[in-house]
Subunit: 125 residues, 2 copies
Amino acid sequence: MATPKNTSKDNAGGDREDLGRLGAFIRSQRRLAELSQRELAKLTDLSDPYVSQLERGLHEPSVRVLKSLARALDVRPQTLLSYVGLNDLGTSDTPAGVEEAVLADAGLTDTQKQALLEVYRSFLS
Amino acid sequence: MATPKNTSKDNAGGDREDLGRLGAFIRSQRRLAELSQRELAKLTDLSDPYVSQLERGLHEPSVRVLKSLARALDVRPQTLLSYVGLNDLGTSDTPAGVEEAVLADAGLTDTQKQALLEVYRSFLS
DNA sequence: GTCAATTGCGAAGTAAAGTTCGCATCGGCC
DNA sequence: GGCCGATGCGAACTTTACTTCGCAATTGAC
């Protein structure tokens, strides 16, 4: 930590202990699917030593990797994300179903989504 | 993009185009909050050149960074994740819909809601 | 027994995420 | 004019994610 700015604790960052739990979960799910590390690596387009390292909690995988793992292990991406600490965090009072609803709408093109959101945000300000 | 624009290709990996969208979103949200890059950097415990790079879509941020950004910009983490492509898989419980979300939004006046929905419906046709 | 194939992991490397420092430009203020 | 602080970004660096290669310990076939 290059910033000794801890005037308050504010542990918003990822916790190292979470990585261990994520790794344990990945390992158990892999075994449940009767896969070897190499097989899972091939499914997820990763290297097998990296799968090994992930299972032992040595790294915090990127969202790209998490997504790929979720698909291969047949769990929801949210489940993996929760281990990295992204499903709590109350988000104060932004009710904002609008943002997500717009983004999730399959009937809109990306440009249209962007335009809609821009209007929406301008209203909020 | 979080949209099922998937014609044929398996879009499991990260898409570089998404990064541009994410960056644009971060930038617009930051400006909406009347923050400079340096201020946002301080809020998120990041460096300001990195914020700059993110806004221009040069990097795919880690979940730790996404989480921190979501908190500082007062948006839901899911919203940012959707830009990186992590909400269109699994999760069949897609949220209610744009119409309901707009109507339920407490930050909008009735006239604004009406205007938004008009734009939305025009896009659909 | 030995051989081949498979499993999990350590070590050293490459690529990408993230930082520190500094430059150039845009205001305001005198 | 010149000076100041603030803003956004480029370049070089450190740190971390991720790969390539290889080794030791199984397992099973012969």
